[in-house]
């Protein structure tokens, strides 16, 4: 059976008649064509498919698209704003928080939602927050550092909203955007 589903993904509307059984991750990847969200385990164990549904991290392979009809979805593709990387992206880059990159989008989406709740976390709190996201490459250490990097940067931005971290950020941009 098909159902009309309308989603806003990264601020852009998408709508389609889709089978009821279409998984949210397949809506995002196949209907919206946003392939940054990955599928790793199929059983809600690994978190590679994590996106934000109305700001809340969700494993998009364990939701049907119809369940989220009308929702605001955020994926990795929406993190960069106006050519500026999100602090979490910058953190993963600076701290070598990724290797094969497959778990990275889900890991970042989880971390962003976590940092909104807890802007100044301990390492243990970060480990707890990302415990629904499996990474096979990094051993998690650099991911924890990456999230701490982002936390610092987000706190700094909060404290001085108008002064973008000039030199370091620019250098990073030059390096990353290629």
């Amino acid at each position: 059976m098909t159902q009309h589903v309308k989603l806003t993904i990264n601020g852009r509307p998408y709508e389609a008649d889709v089978p009821s059984r279409l998984l949210l991750v397949h809506f995002i990847r196949e209907v919206a064509g946003l392939t940054g969200t990955h599928i790793g385990c199929d059983t809600t164990s690994c978190g590679a498919c994590t996106v934000l549904v109305n700001g809340t991290p969700a494993k998009s392979c364990t939701l049907f698209a119809v369940q989220t009809d009308g929702a605001n979805i955020s994926t990795v593709e929406g993190l960069e704003q106006g050519g500026t990387l999100h602090p979490i992206q910058e953190g993963f880059y600076e701290e070598h928080g990724l290797q094969c990159g497959f778990c990275t989008p889900g890991m970042m989406m989880t971390s962003i939602a976590f940092l909104q709740e807890n802007p100044d976390p301990t390492d243990d709190e970060i480990r707890h927050a990302i415990s629904g996201n499996l990474c096979r490459c990094t051993g998690y250490m650099q991911i924890v550092k990456a999230v701490q990097y982002a936390a610092r940067k987000m706190r700094d931005e909060q404290a001085t909203p108008n002064t973008a971290d000039s030199s370091a950020a620019t250098a990073t941009e030059a390096e990353v955007i290629r």
Binding site: G36, H38, D42, T75, V76, C100, G101, I126, R127, Y140
Partner: protein, 784 residues
């Protein structure tokens, strides 16, 4: 142009990774991200039985489903001569069975449909009539005379595959007969699965007009696959293009050729449309190749003063239904004979017997060089067993028996020539870093109070960089590797290599090698790989071989360019090339620092202003055949605490001192070691694949196969010593797998150490809480 070392970003710099730019934005291009016009989807029917005859396959209901275009069976493939394919170990393997299945979840048929969901529905509609046969799951039972035959297709009507041995049996036996002290343990290393977070898959696209087959594939070795494809199908090799796009982790699991790749290719040839096949996690866990399943009996002979003399090892290797291990051809058990480890031994003898069982193919790697983890685990456990028997400190026994730094190159008792090493220095560093003496004092105090803590050491020697063509080949293809460099007129370059990254950061590290050798900034160097139409022939990335082989080729190719550049420099500086020297990333007239040219100047000249006796251009290719393997090593110390009420083991500290020779990128090396340590801990404490008596795999998804999360993973404390490889062009050794190899025995040794006062001498991994608790209970040491 800069000649500032930091701006160049050559050897030893923690250059941030080039590949991150796309991954951080969700712009990576993994297999499932590839969508070609008109693409079809394939899904696979799999056997519920571990062993059964196939009486019939009825595809009519599936074919009646709108959107299903084809159902491919073994009979279809058989007609094309493709029902069987060769494995990388010179065995053969079913692509699709014609009359019988030999392991649970084996591919039985494939459904091709217009959509992924329809293909899945089609799979459920294919009716297969099976006649169950008794399976043989235990490799010891497989060798009994009345055991069910796994492979009646073979000439030899037995489940025994091969026998392989190494070392001097007579001398070893003699030393054992005369030994003052011997120790013996049975060690089982269970089946485990690499479980990269991306599963395997491909998009096969056959162009009927050109007759060219392009396959985008999750493979760690695209060139080898192309050659195998050509040999199997008869399609000329230039009409086959294998592209390995971004790979979401490999760890050895993406080396073999899986039936799905071949069936999808046939499906594309049949339909004339691109066909995508992506495994789900259960398929990946149940049917892709496995590591280990080694049943080892090890004995160590020594003098009463702790001097180790001889090692004797007998092993049964369960390879499942097909011998699909990716080993160098001459080594059926891989590099298992590195088993003498970091120690001087007068003699050793190692025997391995390969056995067929009704399980999927075993014997691939789990982030380790061919069978090295098994070898290291054995010797590192045996050294501890000896120390325990002699009531000596395990660190002291190691120090006493290490091959000494001045003994290199060292010929091991099984014939390997170790290139370099300094084992005492690494262990000393680890002991100081973790305060070994302090930990032993703490342990004694805690033991007196009834608390359980253990300290475990592993001082391993790896063997990587396969390998020298005189010894190493896969299906006859020598295991050299390659690099091609082209310097563009304006001073940037493209580097193409025969190895393939799966997260190791080749796009960055290989650019750094070239930056170092040519003095071009790393940001101006592009690294390309994974496409057999453009990359030079190479054997791929596994067994920590990329830096030792292709890395060496890259340095040598760059040096060829520098040799030519020197001539151009002489031309530009109007002196004889003999009067030009390479200093701080530029050429200068000897003794005249002011008169110099940069590589950028030279690159431009190579296309605009070259002397008449020189060809235009600035490029080079190198196929590097290493003279020997490299032998990275390390000293790991692990501290565990054990909960007496539950048997739970918690890693409190883990210090890893690694020596991989000269380092290209310290940041990336650290990352490789963190990941390796985590994948070493995983099988030590969590992961194992088991089968019930009917051959049903019991861990067929991530709910049951326990990959550690950030919560179970400790903070790794890493450090290094540097002992360059004397034969590698820039003294590197390879590092991707050292930690996976070195970590498990450190953890196992720590747990045994915590329980040693109860008389425990060995525990098989994974060390589950119930194994520990049972021991505590038996000895009245459990919390009551």
């Amino acid at each position: 142009m800069t000649t500032d070392a930091a701006a160049i970003g050559g050897m030893g710099h923690s250059v941030k990774r080039k590949e991150d730019a796309r991954f951080l934005r969700g712009k990576g291009r993994y297999i499932d991200d590839i969508k070609l016009p008109g693409m079809l989807y394939m899904d696979i029917v799999r056997s519920p039985y571990a062993h059964a005859n196939i009486k019939s396959i009825d595809a009519s209901k599936a074919l009646a489903l709108p959107g299903v275009l084809a159902v491919i069976t073994g009979k279809d493939l058989d007609a094309a001569g493709l029902a069987w394919m060769p494995t990388l170990m010179s065995d053969k393997q079913m692509v699709l069975p014609v009359d019988r299945v030999v392991y649970q979840a084996q591919e039985v048929a494939a459904v091709v449909a217009t959509e992924r969901y329809i293909a899945a529905d089609g799979v459920a509609l294919v009716e297969v009539d099976y006649e169950p046969l008794p399976p043989v799951i235990d490799p010891f039972k497989a060798l009994e005379p009345d055991a069910p035959l796994v492979r009646p297709d073979r000439e030899a009507q037995t489940n025994h595959i091969w026998h392989w041995e190494s070392g001097d049996k007579a001398r070893t036996d003699q030393l054992f007969n005369e030994a003052e002290v011997t120790v013996k343990e049975h060690i089982y290393l269970p089946r485990i699965h690499v479980s990269s977070i991306e599963t395997c898959g491909c998009v096969a696209s056959f162009d009927k007009v050109s007759g060219k087959l392009t396959v985008y594939m999750t493979t760690q070795a695209p060139h080898a696959i192309r050659t195998v494809y050509s040999l199997v199908t008869g399609i000329q090799e230039h009409k086959i293009r294998i592209v390995s796009p971004d790979i979401g982790g490999g760890f050895g699991g993406k080396v073999p050729v899986y039936p799905g790749y071949v069936i999808a290719s046939v499906a594309s040839i049949q339909t004339g449309l691109p066909v995508k096949w992506i495994e789900d996690r259960s398929e990946n866990l149940q049917a892709d190749s496995f590591a280990r399943d080694y049943h080892i009996t090890a004995e160590l002979a020594a003098k009463n003063d702790g001097t180790m003399q001889a090692l004797r090892v007998k092993t049964l290797a369960d390879h499942g239904a097909f011998d699909a291990a990716a080993n160098p051809s001459k080594f059926p058990a891989g590099l298992f004979s590195i088993i003498t480890g970091s120690y001087r031994l007068d003699a050793a003898h190692v025997e391995v017997d390969g056995v067929y069982t009704n399980k999927p193919s075993g014997g691939v790697a789990y982030r380790c060089s061919f069978r090295v983890t098994e070898a290291v685990h054995t010797i590192e456990r045996m050294v501890d067993t000896l120390a325990q028997k002699l009531q000596r400190d395990p660190a002291a026994v190691r120090m006493q028996n290490f091959i000494q730094p001045d003994a290199f190159p060292y010929k091991s008792a099984t014939g390997w020539e170790y290139d370099s090493g300094n084992y005492p220095a690494a262990l000393q560093k680890a002991m100081e870093k973790i305060d070994y003496a302090g930990l032993r004092r703490e342990q004694a105090e805690k033991r007196a109070r009834g608390e359980l803590m253990g300290i475990g050491i592993s001082t391993f020697t790896e063997i990587v960089g396969a390998g020298p063509s005189h010894t190493f080949d896969i299906l006859g293809i020598k295991m050299f590797d390659s690099c091609e460099i082209r310097v563009h007129p304006t001073g940037s370059a493209i580097v193409r290599i025969g190895v393939q990254t799966q997260g190791q950061g080749h796009e960055t590290t290989f650019a750094q090698i070239v930056a170092e050798e040519l003095g071009l900034p790393v940001e101006n160097i592009t690294v390309e790989h994974g496409d057999t139409d453009t990359a030079p022939y190479g054997l791929g990335t596994y067994a920590s071989r990329s830096t030792p082989t292709a890395g060496a080729a890259t340095a040598v190719a760059a040096r060829k360019i520098r040799d030519k550049a020197k001539k151009l420099a002489g031309h530009l500086l109007e002196v004889s090339p003999d009067d030009v020297e390479w200093v701080d990333y530029h050429f200068q007239v000897k003794g005249v620092p002011g008169r110099s040219v940069t590589m950028k100047d030279i690159a431009f000249a190579a296309y605009t202003n070259f002397p008449p006796d020189l060809e235009a251009g600035l490029e080079a290719v190198d196929y590097y055949d290493p003279p020997n393997l490299t032998f990275p090593f390390g000293a790991y110390i692990c501290v565990v605490d054990i909960d007496r009420g539950t048997g739970m083991v918690k890693i409190r500290r883990f210090v890893a001192v690694d020596d991989c020779g000269n380092i290209i990128n310290p940041m990336i090396v650290d990352g490789q070691i963190h990941g390796g340590l985590t994948m070493g801990m995983a099988p030590a404490l969590f992961e194992a694949i088991t089968y019930d008596e009917n051959g049903n795999m019991q861990q067929s998804n991530f709910m049951d196969y326990l990959l550690p999360t950030a919560m179970e993973t400790p903070v790794w404390e890493t450090d290094k010593t540097t002992t360059p490889s004397p034969h590698h062009p820039f003294g590197a050794k390879g590092v991707g797998e050292s930690a996976t190899v070195g970590a498990p025995p450190a953890i196992a040794n720590a747990v045994v150490d915590a329980l040693s006062h109860l008389g425990v001498t060995h525990l098989d991994i994974p060390i589950t809480p119930w194994k520990v608790y049972q021991i505590l209970q038996e000895h009245g040491a459990a919390e009551s």
